[in-house]
């Protein structure tokens, strides 16, 4: 093996930070994001599971259970990694849920609920659904929309299935209603389903009115949670709604919310295709949300990303970092959440590895996703080692080694053959863009059920003309210029300066045909705008240039200048990596 290839491979992979334009240390506190904390907390929980701790809420006669203790450890770890206490509580509850903990068990004493357990582990007060924001989808709304609509409906009309004034003293508020046919067969399910529909509908309207695509999952979730603040949140129900000791009000309420939101009745786990009843999931998670305090928007992003292990993903609203797009790395928690779920189900390490590898096929850029997952796992191991990161590293290390080596060999051969770094990167960037286009064509044809013949990017560069600042002229993410041609169902669309002119004009004019056609190409452009989550194409080329004698600083600067789409923002790790490649070369004496 040539020294240059060894030096390049080692320099590019020496630190996880070198293969991304993102700043890993900044993910550890201060501004709220805490995805590395989620990776670490998942390891904390996994280690407790391997000790044989009981991950179940039961009506045992003890002040604290194993779940309380595990929750405290996970919350502490998350807060050490920068999570706000309410966010730590909510993320812990979501992780414990996937680990296999039931969301509630209850007789009057004890009555344990997972959301409350983790909230108390964080030592914070309870919140209300009206104060819970949604995750950010450009804009965001909050559970206030659901709560407002529900209370307005309660004021406007009588929603209970009977005249409440008829309830005598000693009956209303007692088990006479709550634990009998009146409550379980009539009041809770009937009122609950009405309220859930109202709340869910209001959430969907709020999303639309605020300029967003409706998030069906979050709408159903908030609609259900707001309802559970009003009706008995964990009552058994009549047999027509579900079997005794199994079905409670959250699932019944969520059934109406799921229907109102237009969610599929069944969703699936990524990598395994296991089925989950959507109403059961929404009911469970709404009960967590109702009890777990007042998270921030960033907390809700993380919470939602923990649910990105649901295969239906962003199309329904379950997080966005599970694929197919390569999102900024501060979103990514799918792999540890999935590994934790599998561990809770009893899967072995080898089985977890195989399934995590399978999920990489769900990304437009499989190799980049594999590398991104690997570097996050390696960085998370700095914080908390454990069985999950170990399995994820094992799952992704072969893919990383293969991807970097292939690129290093290609760069070596090209430069050895006389190509300059500029020529090499122009070629690599062109191929990178074409590969994304091809992958999006394949996937989106299925998703949209349309015949997408091709996507041809004619010109992709910074400087669309919306901004004059030189920074925007240099970096794609800040003023992206895109000319593209796409063929959809036999019709060819040609767009010049798509992002600055065509798309805003079509949207503001209500040009549905153009917007529908844009759906075929939109994901590819988003993928380009997100570039940088994994920057291996650029890093490997720049390191090879440095290994072959180019000044390391110059190699990094030239690479940033030429690969202005692939690393759409400045990359602090690039200069360090090229310097290391140069240093390694000087030390190789074979």
């Amino acid at each position: 093996m040539e020294k240059e290839i060894v030096a390049t491979f080692r320099a590019a992979t020496a630190k996880p930070d070198y293969l991304t334009t993102e700043k890993f240390d900044a993910m550890l506190g201060g501004w709220g994001v805490f995805n590395l904390g989620v990776w670490a907390a998942a390891n904390v929980i996994a280690k407790e599971m391997q000790k044989g701790r009981k991950l179940k809420l039961e009506v045992t006669n003890e002040a604290y259970t194993d779940v309380d203790e595990i929750a405290k450890k996970a919350v502490k770890k998350l807060m050490e990694c920068g999570a706000d206490p309410a966010n730590a509580a909510l993320a812990t509850a979501a992780l414990l849920y996937w680990a296999g903990v039931n969301v509630q068990c209850g007789i009057p004493c004890p009555n344990r609920k997972l959301g409350a357990v983790t909230r108390m582990a964080a030592g914070i007060p309870s919140g209300r659904v009206s104060s819970i924001p949604t995750e950010k989808l450009n804009n965001k709304v909050s559970g206030f929309a659901a709560t407002l609509a529900i209370y307005q409906a309660l004021e406007r009309e009588h929603l209970a299935p009977f005249d409440s004034k008829l309830l005598p003293l000693g009956i209303g508020g007692s088990p006479f209603v709550g634990h009998t046919a009146i409550g379980e067969d009539h009041l809770f399910p009937k009122l609950g389903q009405k309220l859930a529909k109202i709340g869910t509908r209001a959430m969907m309207k709020a999303y639309e009115s605020a300029g967003m695509r409706t998030c069906r999952w979050m709408s159903a979730l908030m609609g259900t949670a707001a309802t559970l603040e009003i009706i008995h949140p964990d009552a058994y129900v009549g047999e027509e709604y579900g079997q005794f000791l199994v079905t409670r009000t959250p699932e019944v309420v969520a059934t109406a919310a799921v229907e109102e939101a237009g969610m599929p009745e069944v969703v699936h786990i990524r990598g395994t295709n296991e089925e989950i009843k959507t109403a059961c999931l929404v009911g469970d998670v709404a009960l967590i949300l109702k009890d777990s305090g007042t998270p921030t928007v960033v907390g809700m992003i993380m919470f939602n990303e923990i649910f990105s292990i649901i295969k239906e993903g962003a199309s329904v609203g379950f997080g966005r970092a599970g694929g197919p797009l390569l999102l900024p790395l501060n979103h990514w928690v799918s792999a540890p959440s999935l590994a934790l779920y599998l561990l809770g189900k009893g899967a072995t390490q080898d089985e977890i590895i195989a399934i995590v590898q399978e999920t990489m096929n769900g990304y437009f850029q499989k190799e980049d996703a594999t590398v991104a997952t690997n570097i996050l796992a390696r960085r998370a191991e700095f914080i908390e080692r454990g069985p999950l990161t170990e399995a994820i590293i094992r799952a992704t290390e072969p893919g990383l080694a293969n991807a970097i080596t292939k690129r290093a060999i290609y760069a070596y051969e090209q430069m050895k053959g006389g190509r300059t770094l500029t020529e090499l990167l122009e070629d690599v960037q062109k191929r990178h863009i074409e590969a994304i286009a091809a992958s999006v064509v394949k996937t989106m044809s299925k998703v949209l059920n349309k015949d997408i013949g091709y996507i041809k990017f004619k010109d992709v560069r910074p400087g669309a003309g919306r901004r004059t600042h030189k920074f925007a002229q240099r970096h794609f993410a800040f003023d992206a210029y895109v000319d593209v041609e796409v063929k959809v169902d036999g019709k060819v669309y040609e767009w010049e300066n798509l992002l600055a002119k065509v798309a805003p004009e079509a949207l503001l004019k209500g040009d549905k045909e153009t917007m529908d056609a844009l759906a075929a190409v939109g994901m590819a452009i988003t993928e380009l705008l997100n570039a940088g989550a994994c920057s291996m194409d650029v890093v490997v080329c720049a390191c090879m240039a440095a290994a072959m004698g180019m000044d390391p600083k110059e190699a990094a600067e030239k690479a940033s200048e030429v690969a202005n789409v692939m690393i759409s923002m400045p990359s602090p790790g690039l200069k360090k990596a090229t310097q290391l490649a140069s240093d390694i070369m000087k030390g190789l004496d074979f």
Binding site: Q104, C105, R112, L245, N273, E275, C280, K345, G346, A347
Partner: protein, 139 residues
């Protein structure tokens, strides 16, 4: 008298399956795998312990494909296309739980005696699969 539909519905609940089809598939798979690994004598003895409608499932359980795997769970994992071994074990747990609910204690003991050792463990574990966290202490 438990009907076929009622039995499938109960399997759905025990396994948290999303459709009756999934419940029926699971029952057929588990019974098929048991038939493959049990001796003729054990097979007959268990058959006689089962009430309807389980008996008819047991009798009719047949699947396409080869079945030369060494153990029942491996066979079930492959035939059921389960993503990991514990998911196949869960299928047995669910079906065993469904049987435990409809036969008396004496028959439970006898049935367990006819099972191979690894399945005895699952049969024992399956008694706790049917209830939520609120009921364990009372049942």
């Amino acid at each position: 008298m438990l009907t076929r539909e009622g039995y499938i519905k109960r399997i759905m609940v025990l396994g948290q399956y999303c459709s009756p089809q999934r419940g029926e598939e699971t029952a057929l798979l588990v019974f098929f795998c048991l038939k493959k690994v049990l001796s003729k004598e054990s097979y007959q003895n268990i058959f006689e312990l089962l009430p309807e409608p389980v008996k008819s499932f047991w009798e009719n359980a047949s699947l396409n494909g080869t079945s030369d795997d060494v153990d029942c769970i491996t066979l079930a994992k492959r035939m059921g296309n389960y993503p990991y071994r514990a998911a196949a074990e869960k299928a047995f747990e669910v079906i065993f739980a469904s049987i435990r609910e409809i036969i008396d204690d004496d028959k439970k003991m006898k049935l367990m005696d006819f099972l191979p050792s690894p399945l005895k463990v699952i049969f024992e574990r399956s008694k706790s699969c049917a209830f939520d966290g609120s009921a364990g202490d009372f049942l």
